[in-house]
Symmetry: C2
Subunit: 516 residues, 2 copies
């Protein structure tokens, strides 16, 4: 992962001349002559970890697994939101954790949390570093230092082939987890856009949702058990596939973003590697018609593995990027499983969508979507380099409220940003509602950080005023914290604080995240 | 609901001569000449509610909705476990709430909780009174009185036909909720054995699971939102069909059994009234073969609406009750939905079960099961009247651990009780595991309460020692509380206590339930 952009340098993308012309014509922007520092020129704030602190931490994890070197601190300086990337282009000293600590097991984590509590050091659990909401920002809070608790050494892998359950270490990145499972003939099937870099622990801590959620469920729905190390002790949650033994405490730690404890292992439902895959895309005349169609698919239980539906603006850009023209709203679907199961669900989905007014485009557009499905963040980097600010935000609501919420958020963004492209798609469907995923492209302007901050605030206000959730799958971090009291109520916030006080009485874990 | 037995007097059942002969031959028991009091002869402990308490409560809900009369207190004296029924046959003064309070809306509940907090009165939220774990026992705790907070007046009904969501008042009994939905062409599809009497609020507060859980999910999976009135304020939870905005606080109140607050309304996923229904039963040679078959159904996603599988002992009794003979293990399945969807799932299930060694018995045994599916508690009453103690208990675990857990619980029960019938079935299936539902019939003996208490303790120890959950769908109440620390860990218990302290600092809500 690059420190100041997405992913791997070799996969960086360039904009076509057509897109460059579009940016110039619509937004008036072109290749920026950015005065950004090279990696070796970046200055970080000085580490405030004391030698005694470092000695104590090294006494637990070993000297090789504690580092205060800038080269190690920089990649742990935060996540990968557009604001993060813009901040990293600055020349002033940048925020970074005062050290990176890499514990090797639960006992070491317990000891590290004890040292942090005793010595007054904040600890930010760190997985793949792909947060787009400030979830891993190195915030010291009221402590004299903050360390990134990098969980990359937690690589446990166990598989129960009778129960179809895998136990995966929190530090396993998505591709490595799937590789281990594939070696035994199984798949998890969790493919968020961050898949190539994000980790099992991060998926759980943020309630991640993947592109195949229609078929395999959100990540939280796959979780059958969690191992959590907290300053107050260890929790081993999820005793049975179903239970009425009181509140489900797993659900307190799913989405807890490291503020209650460190998720160190996750037990997950897996399925056999799909034997068959089919794809199909449909074009609808407009968003209202197509969203009624995907709603019918979700409610009638046709159960495609992937189901996405783009509005007019996003469809237009998708076609333009592929060098095509046309109008309407594009739905793409994929079906995975046994050949018979795939065929049955494909037939059922086709019947529902055709009946709803969709015109089949065959498999090509859906296969094209799948090929590029992890690449959007690279496109964002290319846009930034061409003077265009690109960022995403997302929400969810009931089907009855979907159109009103979409309109309100779109208007809030456009009113704040002026001329801009606001695109939207339904990325995850449920029987009772769906998510809305917005992509915004606008001119960087003189102060892009200020510009996006204002737009994000307006979008958040529109979302909460129109009964959406402040985040469907990006989590809360710092960026969504202002809306948490509206999301769960002031009393809900008090409940979260009480849990925090019980498990992390000193407050060392991920300060200023999630809980207002 | 009868005060000292299950259900409606008109539906009481009688044992056939064959069954009576079986009881005499196997257990050595016959019709008991029970010296149980008539309803009018039952003596209750005196109400300790003061006139000032009653006046204050009446000031909120109106004098018509507060009662200290024995005739109102007796039906609120507890639930319907076999121990409950045995206790009610005693002649000593019986426990009962000191008053029954029937609030009409959330504001009244807020005010009642305020009065209870101020005056030191415990409050037990009360729905249908069908708890089999002591969940609604009138425990005063450290307070001078306890009231039953009967929620029968909370009958809200709203339906969003676009999003397929209904908002149902906590006091609606199962049949009334289904009747309201059916009038609009929809169904909830939650049919636990307590269905005819239990309420929407009770289903949520106990994580109830119905007989159609394979198709429609557990009750907690149907819940999209909860309204909860606590002494500290009101919570409105469940903002969107999917969210990453932190921990899912709904899951703290599902299964909370009234100890954190009073669930007053539940938002639920509904589906259209099924247009078609099909049934089929299969016989397997033994439990191992058949459980592998139902596991394959659950894991391959064939998705019958109902799927149950009885062991050899239960199958034998089922056949005997129907006047038939035979051996093996019976699986029954039902399929509901659109004709095409029903046919597809039926075909898929048939293929899997036949391949696993099942021999079809046609539809009759499955239809017979459905006709009698709410009647087992009546049979329990008839058995009690014939000298036989009958009780059930349940657990769940992974598929890999299922057989070992079943054997351990069976052995624990038989070792404690001596000669007895211990029957078991898989009542709910998941991809990763299943529930086990045990029915025990044994002689009442000289001290049936002591006898069952010992057996239940042995079963609970076997369940926790063999990695089962202490309850799959009966909830915790008083009876399962001794095992909660093993279920969620000492630290998990501390988390529950912290939530309790935040929402109900005086501790008036349902004392001594759920949380150790």
């Amino acid at each position: 992962m690059k420190w100041d952009a997405w992913g791997e340098p070799a996969l960086a993308t360039r904009l076509s001349d057509d897109i460059k012309a579009l940016l110039l014509n619509v937004l008036g922007v072109s290749a920026a002559d950015v005065d950004a520092p090279a990696r070796d020129d970046v200055r970080l704030r000085d580490s405030t970890l004391t030698a005694a602190d470092e000695h104590a931490l090294a006494g637990v994890v070993g000297a090789d697994y504690v580092s205060t070197r800038d080269a190690d601190r920089l990649p742990h300086a935060g996540g990968k939101s557009t604001l993060d990337l813009l901040r990293r282009k600055g020349r002033e000293p940048q925020d970074a954790p005062d050290a990176v600590v890499m514990p090797g097991n639960d006992a070491e984590i317990t000891a590290v949390l004890h040292i942090c509590t005793e010595r007054g050091i904040a600890a930010v659990p760190f997985g793949g570093g792909t947060s787009v909401v400030g979830g891993v920002d190195p915030v010291r809070g009221r402590f004299h230092a903050v360390v990134a608790l990098d969980l990359c050494r937690l690589r446990r892998f166990e598989l129960d082939e009778v129960s179809l359950e895998a136990t995966l270490g929190a530090g396993l990145p998505g591709p490595r987890a799937e590789e281990l499972l594939a070696g035994r003939g199984y798949e998890l099937g969790h493919y968020p856009q961050s898949f190539r870099f994000a980790t099992i622990g991060g998926f759980a801590a943020t309630r991640s949702s993947g592109q195949a959620s229609s078929g395999y469920g959100r990540f939280d729905e796959m979780v059958t058990g969690l191992q959590v190390v907290t300053p107050a002790g260890v929790l081993d949650l999820g005793r049975a596939p179903g239970s009425a033994a009181g509140p489900d405490l797993r659900e307190l730690f799913l989405g807890s973003e490291g503020v209650f404890g460190v998720i160190t292992a996750v037990r997950l439902r897996v399925h056999p590697t799909p034997a068959a895959r089919q794809y199909e895309a449909w074009m609808f005349p407009d968003f209202a018609t197509g969203s009624a169609g995907v709603r019918a698919v979700a409610q009638e239980g046709a159960a495609p593995t992937v189901l996405r539906f783009s509005d007019e603006a996003e469809t237009g850009i998708t076609l333009a990027l592929a060098g095509q023209t046309g109008s309407g709203c594009l739905a793409v679907a994929a079906f995975e499983g046994s050949p018979a199961h795939v065929a049955a669900r494909h037939d059922a989905t086709r019947a529902v969508l055709t009946n709803a007014g969709g015109v089949s485009l065959g498999a090509d557009p859906a296969e094209a979507w799948e090929r590029g499905r992890f690449d959007a963040p690279y496109l964002r980097d290319a846009l930034l380099a061409n003077g265009a600010l690109c960022e995403t935000l997302e929400t969810a609501t009931t089907w009855a409220n979907l159109a009103a919420l979409k309109d309100a958020v779109t208007q809030a963004l456009q009113a704040t940003l002026g001329t801009s492209l606001v695109m939207c798609h339904i990325s995850h469907v449920y029987p009772t509602g769906a998510s809305l995923y917005f992509t915004v492209v606008t001119a960087l302007g003189d102060d892009p950080i200020d510009r996006w901050t204002a737009a994000k605030r307006a979008a958040g206000e529109a979302i909460t005023a129109h009964k959406g959730t402040i985040t469907h799958h990006h989590a809360v971090g710092i960026d969504h914290r202002p809306w948490m009291a509206q999301e769960v109520g002031e009393l809900g916030v008090r409940v979260l604080r009480a849990v925090k006080q019980t498990l992390d009485p000193a407050g060392i874990l991920n300060p200023d995240k999630l809980i207002p």
